[in-house]
Every structure is written in C-alpha cells, then in structure tokens.
C-alpha cells in the first residue's frame, strides 16, 4: 500500500487530492502505467510526463525512481512559488 498525492491541475483532473493504492510497481514509472490503465481521467492527467514532477517521500526525484520502502508518492506540475 502506498499513499498517492496529487496537487494543482493534476489533483483537479484526477478529481481527488490523495488515495491509498495497492500496487506491485517497483518504480514511479510502473506506478504511472498502473494508474493510467485505471480510467480515462488518470490517462489524461499522466498523458505528458514532461509536464509533471514527482516526489517520493517528500523528496523530488525522477520517474525512474525506485518505490522500495516508499510510503508516499506525489504528482504535480512544475512548481510556481516565490
């Protein structure tokens, strides 16, 4: 079980801020494939990975990052703070 969190327009497209996901994915990329296979709104949200950023356990990382031991994965657009 892994906690998956969404922010900004990713959250809006998927329609919820967070969910617990039962997964056997070993990497973020595999998790994304599982999610895209679920429903159209996931496929839409993840259609262009270059427009997305990912954090595993609150650390920015890449889509090839391992999920071994991970408790939380967050997906969001490029940040616009400051």
């Amino acid at each position: 079980m892994i906690e998956v969190v969404y922010f900004a327009w990713v959250r809006e497209r998927i329609g919820l801020p967070r969910e617990r996901v039962e997964t056997t994915a070993r990497t973020v990329a595999e998790l994304v494939e599982e999610l895209k296979a679920r429903e159209e709104r996931y496929a839409l949200a993840f259609s262009d990975l270059s427009a997305l950023r990912v954090a595993v356990d609150q650390e920015l990382t890449g889509f090839d990052a391992s999920l071994a031991g991970a408790r939380e994965v967050a997906f969001f657009p490029p940040m616009t703070g400051g």
């Binding site: 969001f76 657009p77 490029p78 940040m79 703070g81 400051g82």
Partner: protein, 162 residues
C-alpha cells in the same frame, strides 16, 4: 544562557524560526528587525518581498496551494545551503498559502551577511530555488476564468548559475 533566553523570547512571539509557511500575513519591518537582532558581524541585510500583481486589473484573487509535508523541509534545505555557502549571519524565509488578493504580500526572503555581495547573492539564490523547487502552485482566479500559473523556462534556467 542569555542567548537562550533571548531565543525563547523570540519563539514565544512565533517569529523565531528561520522558515515559516503560513496562511497569515506578516510584517516585513518586524522581520528585518528580528533578523539582525542578536546576530553578530552583519554589515548587509537584503530582503525580497513578493506581491500579488494584477496587471490587466481583472484578477479577483490568487490561490496558492502547497504540499504541507514537504514545503518547510524543502525550504529549510535551501536555507541551510545558502547559509553555508555565503556564510550568512542570519536568514529568513516566509511563504504564505491560501487566497491572496492583488497587492497582498505572498512571501519574503531576508539575508544578513558581513558584506553586500554575499547578502545579495544568497537572496537571489533562495528566490531562484523557491520559484522552481519549493512545492507551491499558484492559480489565478480572474473575471475571464481561473488558470494555473505556468512555470517559465527562464525560471528553470535561472537555477543554472548557482
């Protein structure tokens, strides 16, 4: 000991931490006063304050979303790097979230160092990193509708000089 008492006094006022993520407004003048106090060997203090712009005059408000579990630790790591790299005597970052109207303050960075070049560079470094690496997202809600502010290539490029 005296220093410890002073620090406790500051924390009771809720302004002792060098990174704060909050919904409420803040007072830049008070932050600048607190920053220099108790610090030694400071000759230069630089501050940056970000304000909600409303260029076409149609913005109702800006909604700032963030990632609570990640925001403060991510900014704290940036501050630690800036303090070490430019040997800052003091440093402060405050960033608001929630609904902000045109003209309202969004955030503030303040740096204190022996000389001006270090204070300026550290403040610019922190701004560049906050822009592209701190987990905030801005949505503009205007007469024409709502839209998420897009990251600009120039902001990503700005990181390269550090």
């Amino acid at each position: 000991m005296q220093e410890a008492v002073k620090n406790r006094g500051r924390e009771e006022q809720g302004a002792g931490e060098r990174v704060r993520v909050q919904r409420e407004d803040f007072d830049p003048g008070r932050e600048l006063d607190m920053l220099a106090r108790g610090a030694t060997d400071i000759g230069a203090v630089v501050s940056f304050t970000g304000v909600v712009r409303d260029l076409p005059g149609t913005l109702h408000y800006m909604e700032i979303e963030h990632y609570p579990a990640m925001t403060a630790p991510a900014i704290e790591a940036m501050v630690a790097e800036a303090v070490g790299r430019w040997r800052l005597g003091a440093c402060r970052v405050i960033h608001r979230y929630g609904r902000l109207k045109p003209g309202e303050r969004i955030m503030m960075v303040a740096t204190a160092a022996p000389h001006r070049v270090a204070a300026f560079e550290a403040a610019q470094f922190l701004m560049d990193y906050l822009k592209s690496r701190a987990p905030f997202w801005k949505k503009e809600v205007a007469a024409e509708g709502a839209r998420w502010v897009e990251a600009r290539d120039a902001d990503e490029d700005a990181l390269k000089r550090w």
